[in-house]
């Protein structure tokens, strides 16, 4: 009997558990959903695991891999329920978190409020010390001042301390010594050093990240150790791995030291699943599109790997605006998130144009058609008003929708004030939300220097399959893929992620004054540190190195791959060539003769991404008879039209469905527009293919 792969994803509402046995076409998958138990998240998890193992007829000892992702860290930050945390900073720099970037995230709004720092000013202490940009000490650490600070923190019953000194990424000596002193004076208090959590230049982002790490550390370490123990007690011999925001798996040790890397791990699982699905189908370029109740997330995937970034913001307070959240500088799968989901509310703005989101009716009271007291029209109401959702099948019949309420809400708030028919009002709402998502994808692509065109859109989340075809039309994409089991996609994705760790460190160096010895020493040290954190990955390990480079004085760095070996004199010229090639790819030209500088370096070590088995081809087969027809208002023709309705569960691999058509299942419905035909592949995914090349 082969082993069981187990994945658990704790979200804000649901805890999803997935167990898999075997691989390839014969894979068996079992899944359960439990309500998240916020007081002790491991309770729902363990219950779910027991249930899913029982279903699989296996015990804990059969588990050979256990992967866990959780929103616990994210929620602690958003709800400000982390540890009682203090910050020790360089004298003269108490207010890095308040001063932030001195900007306003909304140019015209006179009433904005800045995000509230995780550590109040009263708990931000400073000590005399100073490193310069090269890591040379300009002012020795005042150890007496550190002891005095420790005494104050003891009195304040602090649970966690962040230490973030200027230029500590270049020389961590003062931070390390500070931790030693704190360890004596504050035994048992968790200490996070900026030189370890985020050894990168730019003091605001580094301090913010270090403080967030300290803030969630006691909570996360306690939880993870408890869960690890509980699993072992029940006979689980597989080591627990944690999903990180970067899409890699971390050991419990690494996660306890750097829990900030667990923030936003759920969406990373979705992106990993998309990447896996794409790779199994030989799709080199894909766009992952996840649309749920409140937000839509879009992520570019190239050659089987989601694009990554080095920072993101958690807890954006205002309309998902850049700058309204707390920056975290950690490796992340890069996603753009906008306030566009099924529950997003539609209204008319000051110019009497339809605006959708970011306000959401959520699940309570929910859209007007839920008949639970929601009065405002939402995206789901517009979908229902135009016949795209079969009311009796919605959420597996758990909620009976009332289409009349949907039409009434859209008519009252949108169509009537604009003098439009009810259908055109609803169509306007859907067109705007689809346009918003397409625009977000375009901006995401341009920020990464990518051109959308031959990408495959992979849609999951409750609302995405209804909107994916139209979004693809707007982006000119030729294919849309709707995977099976999209409802527990993140947890399934966890099982496809590699165990690996990435370390990033700033060390300024000009290419025309390249210090080979220093670079090699730095990279070797980073490799040793990273290998330690990636320990237990098993199998053949891959090492990847990169330098973050820019023209001297520029503000944004680009990642350039380095060979995973000691650099030689010949590599310097090669580095310039690689940088220029990458710069041209992103910005269409390079600047001859301009000086090039390196700001930061990266080393990632881990198991290679597991290669999926290619899907077996299937013989084309006729579609089964539709289970019925529905009148759906057509976007292109702007008229009602009877569409055949297919039951997804009854579609066998190979089935071909000509568009337009509607495919229903318990969790969602897929709208195949007239521009697409669909087939079912051997992995049970629906593949929509454009009928004719885009005009």
């Amino acid at each position: 009997m082969t082993g069981i792969g187990l994945a658990a994803d704790i979200g804000g509402t649901f805890t999803d558990i997935v167990a898999e046995r075997g691989t390839g076409p014969g894979i068996e998958r079992f899944s359960v959903k439990r309500l998240t138990t916020h007081d002790a998240p491991e309770r729902a998890l363990l219950e779910g695991v027991e249930a899913v193992l029982a279903e699989a007829g296996a015990g804990f000892e059969a588990v050979t891999a256990f992967v866990h992702g959780t929103t616990l860290a994210t929620n602690a930050i958003i709800e400000r329920k982390g540890a009682h945390t203090a910050l020790i900073a360089t004298e003269g720099f108490r207010d890095i978190l308040d001063i932030a970037d001195e900007g306003r995230y909304d140019q015209y709004d006179l009433e904005i409020e800045k995000p509230r720092p995780l550590v109040p000013r009263a708990l931000r202490l400073t000590v005399p010390e100073r490193m310069d940009v090269t890591g040379t000490s300009l002012l020795a650490l005042d150890e007496a001042a550190v002891r005095a600070a420790a005494a104050r923190l003891a009195e304040a019953r602090i649970e966690a301390v962040a230490v973030a000194f200027l230029h500590a990424y270049a020389n961590p000596a003062h931070e390390i010594r500070t931790r030693e002193i704190l360890a004596e004076a504050l035994p048992g208090v968790a200490v996070s050093l900026s030189s370890e959590v985020c050894p990168e230049i730019r003091e605001f982002e580094r301090t913010s990240t270090t403080v967030a790490n300290a803030y969630v550390q006691p909570l996360m370490a306690g939880y993870l150790r408890r869960l690890e123990g509980a699993m072992a007690e029940r006979g689980c011999r597989a080591p627990m791995r944690l999903m990180t925001s970067g899409g890699r798996l971390a050991s419990v040790d690494a996660a306890c030291r750097y829990p900030v890397r667990l923030v936003e791990s759920g969406p990373a699982g979705g992106a990993i699943l998309s990447a896996h699905i794409a790779a199994a189908r030989g799709q080199a370029k894909t766009l992952s599109f996840d649309m749920g109740g409140t937000t839509a997330k879009v992520c570019l995937i190239e050659n089987g790997e989601p694009l990554t970034a080095r920072s993101f913001e958690v807890d954006r307070s205002a309309r998902f605006l850049k700058g309204s959240g707390l920056p975290l500088r950690i490796p992340v799968i890069e996603m753009i998130e906008i306030g566009a989901g099924g529950g997003s509310i539609a209204r008319l703005d000051a110019t009497r144009s339809i605006a959708v989101g970011p306000d959401s009716a959520g699940s309570e009271p929910g859209p007007a058609c839920y008949a639970r007291g929601g009065e405002e029209p939402t995206v789901t109401d517009a979908d229902v008003a135009l016949g795209r959702i079969a009311p009796e099948r919605f959420a597996g019949g758990a909620i009976t929708l009332e289409p009349a309420r949907a039409a009434e809400a859209v008519g009252r708030e949108i169509a009537a004030p604009l003098g439009l028919s009810g259908e055109m009002g609803a169509l306007g709402v859907l067109e705007i939300v689809d346009e918003n998502m397409a625009n977000a994808a375009r901006v995401h692509a341009v920020e990464r220097g990518a051109t959308l065109g031959d990408h495959t859109l992979i849609a999951f989340g409750g609302a995405a399959p209804l909107h994916a075809a139209r979004v693809a039309e707007k982006l000119g994409l030729p294919r849309v893929l709707i995977p099976a089991d999209a409802g527990v996609g993140s947890a399934v994705g966890f099982l496809r992620a590699p165990v690996a760790y990435e370390t990033i460190r700033s060390r300024y160096m000009r290419l025309d004054a390249f210090d080979l010895a220093a670079a090699n020493a730095l990279l070797a040290a980073m490799t040793a540190e990273t290998a330690d954190l990636a320990r237990g990955a098993g199998g053949a390990l891959e090492e990847r190195r990169a330098a973050f480079m820019r023209y001297a004085g520029q503000g944004h760095e680009i990642s350039v791959a380095l060979p995973a070996r000691a650099l030689t004199g010949a590599d310097t010229e090669d580095l310039r060539r690689r940088f220029e090639a990458e710069y041209r790819r992103l910005f269409e030209r390079h600047i001859p003769d301009a000086a090039i500088e390196i700001l930061s370096w990266s080393v990632a070590i881990g198991a290679p991404v597991p290669a999926p088995e290619p899907l077996a081809p299937v013989a084309p087969a006729a579609a089964p008879a539709p289970v019925g027809t529905r009148a759906v208002f057509d976007t292109a023709e702007r008229a009602w039209r009877d569409l055949p309705v297919y039951d997804r569960a009854a579609l066998a691999p190979g089935a071909r469905l000509p568009g337009p058509a509607l495919v229903v299942e318990d969790a969602t419905s897929t709208l195949i527009t007239a521009r697409f035909d669909a087939t079912v592949d051997s992995g049970h995914a629906l593949l929509l293919t454009r009928k004719e090349p885009a005009p």
């Binding site: 001063i99 306003r104 009433e111 230049i201 144009s353 306007g428 520029q554 910005f587």
Partner: protein
């Protein structure tokens, strides 16, 4: 898309797409610019115009001073290069302060956009270049000719061929030739991206021209702003604000008239042009005046010729906010950014609950230059370290500390500043008690201390205000703390012009605080004790809050 007639829904989708197009244009500029103030601080603007020079959409990314002045400059391009003379591959350029965005450091590039062989639109963009020669970026010039290279309306490229003569002239006239050339390319590239996206959009929607779409955008935007104005009390309100000026105080006087046709702002009574470069061309005056008005009456309406049309500005020729050529204008932002405060002072008499007290308003940048390390090249280093004071209290909220308003520029990270200059910052922290006391407190300024790390002198090009004339509180609220610039050894610097920081001494900059609103005694006790616990207000200063 089918060839259905353009319904209101179609027009709205296209409008939304057009805004996405210019946002893509701006993001391209932001990512490729060399000038650190553009990349780190967003000192740029990008937009699309119809063939009559009316702005249809403008990127949200950008800074207000460029917004509305760039909008006007496209009309000047059209006068110099009429539509019928334009060819694909042409690019036009200027840095004329009066017809562009107020000083020589801003290059404006305009590119005609052709779709299926027809001129359909113009893309324009502007950004701040770090050095344009002359005496350097600061207010010390006595006429505009001292302030650097002037580029009249010229073709940067003609039918795809770059004007190499002009590029050579530009390179030869700046201390930073590589960066400046890179910035010119980056401006050109961002217009190209915008044009390509517009053409794709027109294909998708089956458009041959932008006429109906332009009509929809401009009419809807104008109506939205007019509806806001209709809800305001009608009348005329006056305000005066005195600021430091270069070597003598400057009176900024305003009359704001809210009528049925719009809002008109007139600066009659404002003092004369100054001898040094803090004068403001009317284009820039209009930009910041309209921005201030826009925050109150058009915050939720996209910027375009329609939403801007009901907001008009006039000023007597020769006054400091309508300075005439050849007045020096390099630091026009020092006065220009004060204008929203002047306008708010008049508006608050009409709508007291919607406008803040006076704030720092002008940037408190550390414009520094000097000798770099031994290998630093011929010209040493030049850097604008962006920093700000506090904003004015809001009627229901405190002011924001260390925050840029009205400019949208962001602060420079200390670690980045120390990477590209041989300076060390010993302090950059909030300045307790600098926020004007009041029911709502003003935002706090900062304390900044800087020294040379290499034992060499360095120069500060000061362009500060609110040293002699702090941000005033209102309705019983206290004034914000005045700004200060000087040396740690004791001597005070002038607020404007070149000054040298000797080796071993420290430059000390105290950025101003914002004014308070309402009597300090009326402040909520919890908010006062929170301020005390946080150390934003000291126990001594808390006495001011005693009823």
């Amino acid at each position: 898309m089918t060839a259905a007639p353009l319904s209101p829904i179609d027009l709205q989708i296209m409008w939304s797409r057009l805004i996405a197009v210019v946002e893509e244009q701006a993001q391209t500029l932001l990512r490729t610019a060399f000038s650190p103030i553009v990349r780190e601080c967003g000192d740029l603007s990008a937009g699309v115009f119809d063939t009559e020079g009316r702005m249809l959409a403008q990127a949200v990314t950008g800074t207000p001073g460029h917004v509305n002045s760039m909008a006007e400059s496209v009309k000047h391009f059209l006068t110099r290069f009429p539509c019928e003379t334009m060819a694909p591959g042409d690019i036009y350029i200027t840095n004329d302060p009066w017809m562009g965005t107020g000083h020589l450091n801003d290059f404006v590039l305009t590119t005609p956009c052709f779709h299926e062989g027809r001129l359909v639109a113009l893309f324009s963009c502007t950004s701040h270049l770090m050095d344009i020669g002359g005496i350097g970026f600061g207010p010390d010039g006595t006429d505009v000719f001292m302030e650097g290279l002037s580029i009249p309306f010229l073709k940067l490229a003609e039918k795809g061929a770059l004007n190499e003569t002009l590029m050579a002239m530009i390179r030869a006239n700046t201390r930073l030739p590589v960066d400046t050339e890179g910035d010119v390319y980056s401006l050109a590239a961002c217009n190209d991206v915008g044009c390509r996206r517009l053409s794709e959009m027109m294909t998708e929607f089956g458009l041959t021209d932008l006429g109906p779409l332009a009509g929809h955008i401009l009419a809807r935007s104008r109506e939205a702003v007019m509806a806001e104005i209709a809800a305001l009390p009608k009348g005329s309100w006056r305000n005066e604000m005195v600021v430091d000026g270069y070597d003598a105080p400057v009176t900024l006087a305003v009359a704001v008239t809210v009528g049925d046709e719009g809002i008109h702002v007139d600066y009659t009574g404002t003092g004369p042009s100054a001898a040094r470069g803090i004068n403001v061309p009317l284009s820039y005056t209009t930009a910041y005046t309209v921005f201030g008005l826009g925050c109150v009456v058009a915050a939720r309406v996209p910027n375009n010729a329609g939403s801007l049309a009901p907001l008009t500005v006039s000023a007597p020729p020769g006054c400091i906010v309508n300075a005439l050529k050849p007045a020096p204008v390099a630091s026009r932002h020092v006065i220009g950014q004060m204008l929203p405060d002047v306008v708010f002072g008049a508006l608050r008499q009409a709508v007291p609950d919607r406008v803040p007290a006076e704030g720092t308003s002008c940037l408190w940048n550390l414009n520094v230059r000097g000798v770099a390390a031994a290998d630093g090249g011929n010209y040493g280093f030049t850097m604008a370290v962006t920093s700000n004071g506090g904003t004015g209290a809001r009627p229901a909220r405190d002011g924001l500390s260390a925050t840029a308003y009205p400019s949208g520029v962001k602060g420079t990270p200390v670690e980045i500043a120390e990477t590209v200059t041989p300076l060390v910052f010993w302090k950059k922290e909030l300045r307790p008690d600098s926020g004007g006391a009041g029911r709502s407190r003003g935002g706090l300024g900062q304390v900044i201390e800087v020294e040379s790390r290499i034992g060499e002198p360095f120069e500060l090009l000061a362009a500060y205000d609110r040293i002699d004339h702090p941000a005033r509180g209102r309705d019983g609220g206290a004034d914000g703390a005045a700004g200060y610039v000087g040396l740690a050894s004791g001597s005070a610097f002038r607020g404007k012009g070149f000054q040298t920081v000797p080796p071993g001494d420290r430059l000390v900059v105290l950025t101003p605080g914002g004014g308070g609103i309402g009597a300090p005694g009326e402040r909520n006790a919890e908010r006062l004790s929170a301020d005390l616990a946080e150390g934003l207000v000291t126990p001594e200063a808390a006495q001011r809050y005693r009823p």
